[in-house]
Symmetry: C2
Subunit: 176 residues, 2 copies
Amino acid sequence: MPPPPAARAKVLQAFTDLLVTSGERSATLDAVADHAGVSKGGLLYHFGSKDALVDGLVEHLTALIAADVAAMRAAPEGPVYYLLRTSSDVGNEFDRTYLAVAELARGAYPRARSALDAAEQAWTDTVAEQVGDAALARTVVLLSDGIYHRASLGAAPPPLEELLALVERLRRPAAS
Amino acid sequence: MPPPPAARAKVLQAFTDLLVTSGERSATLDAVADHAGVSKGGLLYHFGSKDALVDGLVEHLTALIAADVAAMRAAPEGPVYYLLRTSSDVGNEFDRTYLAVAELARGAYPRARSALDAAEQAWTDTVAEQVGDAALARTVVLLSDGIYHRASLGAAPPPLEELLALVERLRRPAAS
DNA sequence: GTCTATATGGTGATAGAC
DNA sequence: GTCTATCACCATATAGAC
């Protein structure tokens, strides 16, 4: 099979950038094409409509989620540390794609929510497997959501160390 | 002074409803006017432009924030319980207005962020006053942000009791 | 494959009747 | 004060040249 055209990846990257930094309203086809270095006509050759562009990004996120959950399960420091650590890291591809799809989910593309719900469920299950406490698992994922909330508003992430310290205290109930 | 026209409040309420339930894209002047039961011309008599409409909503939130912080300080159960409890309550006017302004902050209205930043700071300070632990205060507000994150995506809020129980364990380090 | 037009629909804003 | 036109502009999408 022929290699996928490099322009596709460039377009998805530009779409993600605009969604994260300037919101859904700014991520027009014109702006995406400009930012990707192609013309609008060229963009619409690879993605036949804006809906197809959204689908492309959602599918990309779905693949990244599967990879992230696998990495979470394999992480030597455990799922909790892995989740909170990667939640603070808004620079990498996965977190940027997550934020971009969350932007779409809030807007006129409700089907983008399915991918986000799947991620939440997979994270919660994986954390619960390790800590053996469903309530703590939900809380940890909720903290991760809070970090995303701030990032989606453009605020700086909180210091990671103090969060991990607090979670650690909850995992060992003071050896009562 | 003459009483403020009732149409103003109706328009702000309709604007809030549309932002929360359908996102910024859907909150057009046409839609807001329809939902408020006035014509677009009538809306533009009270708010001379869409920017003026946004300013009106942000000022409304600023007043609600001041009232909320005062209620938080006066709450018999303490700021922590008050914050987490009210964060789960997405139905009341304050939380709906907060979600609506957050929607604007993510879109093309960055000045809406100032009001949100002020709220976060006031909440953190007030919680820190009570728990005497800056890191725990930041964590509690972060949990509150996580609840808002889910609400902004249309998901159900998490069970409140288990969150409060976990916070309580952190406030009393097992009496070591 | 990628580009330059261009058609079509919707959004913010204005003018003027009532 | 509130309404009904109406305008100018921008976004998506299409047609067809290169």
